[in-house]
Amino acid sequence: MREPLLEVEGLKKHFPVSSPIPFKKSDQRVKAVDGLSFKVYKGETLGVVGESGCGKSTMARLVNQLIKPSDGVVNFKEANLVDMDAERLRLTRQKIQMVFQDPYASLDPRLQVGQLIAEPLVIHKVGTTATRKKRVEELLETVGLNKRYADRFPHEFSGGQRQRINIARALSLNPELIICDEPVSALDVSVQAQVINLLKKLQAEFKLTYIFISHDLNVVRYMCDRIAVMYLGRIVEIGTYEEIYKNPQHPYTKALFSAIPKENPFADKEHIILKGTVPSPLNPPTGCHFHERCPVAMDICKTKEPNMITSKDTHQASCHLIN
């Protein structure tokens, strides 16, 4: 069995809602992430897909403790990040980096590219000014940019180049796990391909592990070894990409993948059109969260929450139909 780098158990985040009555505490909670358990193995890419509002990004922020979970365990290399003291967490977090969606918002416009990339090194007191400068040049070349760009400002770069700068910055501390939160969603198709190629090349070169969040199912299919499908704060199906694409078990996964537009004008693709949109996580449906939109819902789905059922070693889904 491969070695898990990250193990998440029963992860929850419930955000309190401000009460309509002043000074009164509200007892309502937005259950953004509601009991996630999964493993990420060394050197693999785990794709996370789902509609907006299903808790993908909250999950990413919980994994590296940018927000504190309400409950659950996040084991990174067998150390639980949740109850770690601040100093140890800071050191451990060197190994977990993030690349965000919007390359226009995630770079400080007042800093030069060299300063931006060296910032993690400065924060973690790695090296001297001279060695940092060398490292920045090295990193720029790794991500396919000219090393003379170090003294330019972010506004001088295109979206694709900025995303390369973000990737260089994420690489600066030699991380083991990189969480990519929709890294190519804001880019044009052909630029998107360049950034994806770069991420794949870096993974082979530095033996990186990725958690790759995206709503573009074609990109996920290409990038990922395993895929987790999320719906309303929970994982409804997880498996290798072949299992998820060729043999989806959960009706939501089936609908999600059937909604991808057809690949050529001759294809006769049947779309499963889901009714409505994702329900509010403030007041999720009883039983199976998906039953209101599910084309094959039964009576039991309205009352009883389905368990994760393992159909194969690597493939799990939570639906009453699988038995």
């Binding site: 050197g43 509609e51 044009d188 630029v191 794949k200 082979a204 999600l256 690949e263 004008p265």
Partner: protein
């Protein structure tokens, strides 16, 4: 021809910023029949949206100018219309829906208000009758419980529902032509499927023509019959969708088709991408605008701009090497950069 709805001839649009003139659209010509749907594809900055917004003359008058061309809609040149006449066309004969449904609705009015406003701007009917029509429209675009929803504000709707409201407003006066500028880009795939389905149904039901602007070829395959490929403010290829998929001719179209991630894409092979970026249109472009990124470019491409040439069977292409007498052999993996191995 009697069933021709819209003809755009040699349209050019320029933006003026200080002393810099950016030629965003350069001599675009196409025509559209009644009830037909045409897709415009291209990268950002290729002039797709400017072309479409120019048809409605929605480009900002202070710095943008239509420098040449004519837009013939139902026998009238829209460019020559007065502001008042143009206002009667907008939202009545030609409607538009935009990419971002959260910024295109007014947050301080209820959706009912915004629907009634559109209807009453073009039709002389009572408020009560307009409200009745608004209810019908909300029902038509598949919004459940329209009598409740009509008094709600845009923030109470989800993204997909807002886009449905936008479509309802656009359809309020039974337009002949609907321009959809990336209508599903901001939406989830499941909602995208809903909206595209709705648009196809409504097109059949109401018999309007659609101009669909998108960067996603999948959306074009789903919804359109004709397609225009734009690059640097010009049309580089136009054909029916089936023809474009089976027999694409322009090297840029090849690049676009190659950079789509398909089911057959081997995940160990790198993705194809078009190197470089489109030319800066604030400088004079000599030669073919695609020359810097074209793997097939030769000396002539740097000197002369290829015209859009009509080949037989309604397929037009702008390339020096794709004319009746000249043909180019499409290379496999022309847009692929190196290889990488995974451990």
């Amino acid at each position: 021809m009697s069933d021709q709805l819209l003809t755009v001839n040699n349209l050019s649009v320029a933006f003026q910023s200080g002393s810099i003139t950016t030629k965003a659209v350069n001599g675009v010509s196409f025509s559209l029949n009644k009830q037909e749907s045409i897709g415009i594809v291209g990268e950002s900055g290729s002039g797709k949206s400017v072309t479409a917004t120019s048809i409605l003359r929605l480009i900002p008058r202070s710095f943008a100018k239509i420098t040449s061309g004519e837009i013939i809609f139902q026998g009238r040149d829209l460019i020559k219309l007065s502001a008042g006449q143009m206002r009667k066309v907008r939202g009545n004969d030609i409607s538009m829906i935009f990419q971002d449904p959260s910024t295109s609705l007014n947050p301080v009015f209820t959706v009912g208000n915004q629907l009634v406003e559109t209807i009453r701007a073009h039709r002389k009917i009572s408020k009560k009758a307009a409200k009745q029509r608004a209810l019908e429209l909300l029902d038509l675009v598949g919004i459940p419980a329209p009598d409740k929803r009509i008094t709600m504000y845009p923030h109470e709707f989800s993204g997909g529902m807002r886009q449905r409201v936008m479509i309802a407003i656009a359809l309020a006066c039974d337009p002949q032509l609907l321009i959809a500028d990336e209508p599903t880009t901001a939406l989830d795939v499941t909602v995208q499927a809903q909206i595209l389905n709705l648009m196809k149904d409504l097109q059949e039901q109401l018999g309007m023509a659609i101009i669909m602007i998108t960067h996603d070829l999948g959306v074009v395959w789903e919804t359109c019959e004709q397609v225009l490929v734009m690059y640097a403010g010009r049309i580089v290829e136009s054909a029916t969708v089936k023809e474009l998929y089976q027999r694409p001719l322009h090297p840029y179209t090849w690049g676009l088709l190659d950079s789509q991630i398909t089911e057959s894409q081997d995940s160990d092979a790198p993705l194809s991408s078009i190197p470089g970026s489109p030319p800066d249109l604030s400088y004079e472009v000599t030669g073919c605008p695609f020359v810097e990124r074209c793997p097939y470019a030769e000396a002539i491409c740097h000197q002369e701009t290829p015209p859009l040439q009509q080949l037989a069977d309604g397929h037009a292409v702008a390339c020096h090497f794709q004319t009746g007498s000249n043909t180019l052999e499409r290379k496999e993996h022309a847009y692929r950069e190196g290889t990488f191995t995974r451990s």
